[in-house]
Symmetry: C2
Subunit: 388 residues, 2 copies
């Protein structure tokens, strides 16, 4: 059976050069970076070298990069760390309605501590509108969070515009760029953000590697308390091999980004055009142009996402129906609901996202096997009008 892995957004493989860079730190170079002896100092140097590579990818200073274990940890770190550090300045934060659950749940945590929050609505493409954002702000607002690109619908937000506005108001601005960084150009200075999250596993780096960029001079509390690591801002023995791989992945991402995008965009556009042509009652979700180069997303009417995923899997095709962090919750995606899709339609959500190894043949194969799958599932559906 032909195989086509079309689930970049859930997991990318390690680039072979990433694995190669990690191996010495999984073998002979096993020192703890906090040890003063040479074995430790070698590990420290490797960690600091990786920090430079990650900083370069987003045009930051290495001292502004704090390694964490996941995008979710970085998001918790940013939202809780900023809000608790700025508590004396105000008690309100505003976050977009399409943020990752780790942002939304961090906000809920803060609500238990008396911090208020407002969700910024989005339009039907998932875009935050600056005028809507302005309406959510109060004199108490200390922090705004809007993600750079959404993993479920691919939409890329006008971050620079939002960041500039917040800066003018003296409000901290954080962006979750986990799905974006390493895949599209991200320049923290040009964007003007105060903090930004990125994740190695989104661009051929290891799982369990991520970072938080924090602009020099911006105060935030540590999240994992109690160690000298990461300039005292994040305790815990460093995952040296993972961090080294993350650094190498960042370097490769900078080098190959354009080539990867040039390869992915024709696949994306062929699928965004092709699937609605081949199958009736298919809606493209997310923005038609302002979207990640490797990302397509749809809602297929009258069929459930999970059933489609399992049937695609039987045909060798790996895809997802939204964020891997919520896939098993079996609830309609809060992102799609925020975009105004109705509940039933949101249940039929599907994301196909491409790796650099995917080809037009993969798209052709998908467009060949998927329509009959949908037909069959619809024939079994109690809600499909054709069956009524």
């Amino acid at each position: 059976m032909r195989k086509a892995y079309l689930d970049h957004i859930a997991a990318t493989p390690l680039h072979p050069e990433v694995l190669e860079s990690m191996l010495p730190f999984l073998k002979e170079n096993y020192g703890n970076p906090q040890s003063l002896h040479s074995s430790g100092q070698d590990a420290l140097q490797a960690v600091e070298n990786a920090r430079e590579r990650v900083a370069e990818l987003i045009n930051a200073d290495p001292s502004e990069i704090f390694f964490t274990s996941s995008g979710s940890e970085s998001n918790n770190f940013a939202i809780k760390g900023f809000a608790l550090a700025q508590k004396n300045r105000g008690n309100h934060i505003a976050v977009s309605a399409v943020e990752h659950q780790s942002v939304l749940h961090s906000v809920k945590y803060l609500e238990h501590m008396g911090i208020k929050s407002t969700q910024i609505p989005v339009d039907k493409f998932g875009l935050v509108n600056l005028d809507e954002l302005k309406k959510t702000l109060t004199p108490e607002t200390i922090l705004v969070s809007v993600m750079l690109a959404n993993g479920e619908v691919g939409t890329i937000q006008p971050i620079k515009e939002i960041a500039d506005f917040c800066a003018a108001k003296g409000i901290l601005f954080f962006t979750d760029a986990a799905a974006a960084a390493g895949n599209i150009p991200v320049d923290v200075k040009e964007l003007g953000v105060d903090a930004l999250c990125l994740a190695g596993n989104q661009f051929y780096g290891p799982k369990g590697t991520a970072a938080l960029y924090v602009k020099k001079g911006k105060r935030l509390l540590p999240f994992i308390d109690g160690g000298v690591q990461e300039s005292g801002r994040r305790a815990g023995t460093e995952d040296v091999a993972g961090i080294v791989g993350f650094g190498r992945a960042a370097e490769l991402a900078g080098k190959h980004m354009q080539k990867r995008a040039d390869k992915a965009i024709p696949l994306r556009d062929a699928l965004l055009r092709g699937l609605p042509e081949k199958v009736k009652n298919v809606v493209v979700t997310g923005h038609p142009e302002k979207r990640l180069p490797f990302h397509t997303s749809f809602c297929i009417e009258f069929v459930e996402g999970e059933a489609m995923l399992l049937n695609l899997d039987m045909n060798g095709i790996a895809a997802s129906s939204g964020s891997a962090c919520t896939s098993k919750a079996l609830k309609a995606s809060h992102v799609l609901l925020a975009m105004g899709l109705d509940h039933a339609l949101a249940q039929g959500s599907l994301v196909f996202s491409f790796l650099e190894e995917n080809t037009m043949e993969d798209i052709e194969y998908l467009l060949e096997v998927f329509p009959p799958v949908i037909d069959r599932l619809r024939q079994m559906s109690p809600i499909y009008p054709g069956n009524l």
Copy 2:
């Protein structure tokens, strides 16, 4: 030059079988465990298999194991998660004075939220005395934390006795077993603890891998908020390869624990006896018998730990002067001060801890090169009585 790595407590190498178990998940098996397709399900199965291995090591149920990225994260998770979940029942927690910084700083975090705390004093061996513990408790006490074994002085606490006492009082009891689990027998049922932290990098597993055991039915809040991973208690894409390696390391630890201890104890005892014989004004720190099998610790009068470490390193010997999480803080260890050592003596702290590959020749080599190093450093010391 001969090399002797005597710094188990800071970092252990990966066991070759651990690395071997990880490699498929760093190569072809790159799925996200939360994905519904077969690539994801393979990853999930590997994670759940590792969870069983880790559970077995400490006689827990797999559903009681939550993977984290470090002992520090597990400690934050336990202390903050329990205290915030039990806030309605009381607002006081008691922790031993020799806890890891990630426990002590988590307590400080909670103090900002109105939770009070008391430190339980220890004796000159670093042991918590149950009578002293009793004095620290109030009707408001909801949580007690005493570590199982201390990484800086090797002392093993009477955990069962403390846990039984807390259970009888209806107070939650947490133990940080990061330095102990995988190295000495740890049975959560026999100990009677409500939660326990363990770390893969302490027993030939990967850095960046750890877990929190939470007894079934004991409520604690998530620490990293916002995902379905780890039964909704810890968000973030799983470090699949790391977790698999952690599981394999746990399996190997169970199998080789006795053999490893039998090999380490003669080295430990030879060094604990030999160094004070060869060098004047050397104090063994920690308990003479109730200590980790692979662990020795000393205070060398009139010399600073850092200078000794660098000179040992020049002789090919890797050691540490306390916890890697505080080594660069250059402050006297809070553990040694809590044991009643004076500030100057505590500056001369040294830990030699053994891997399974270490031999008696390593100890002999250390005992040969170290005394002249101390002599030389003392000759340069402005406080050495011989120089006055």
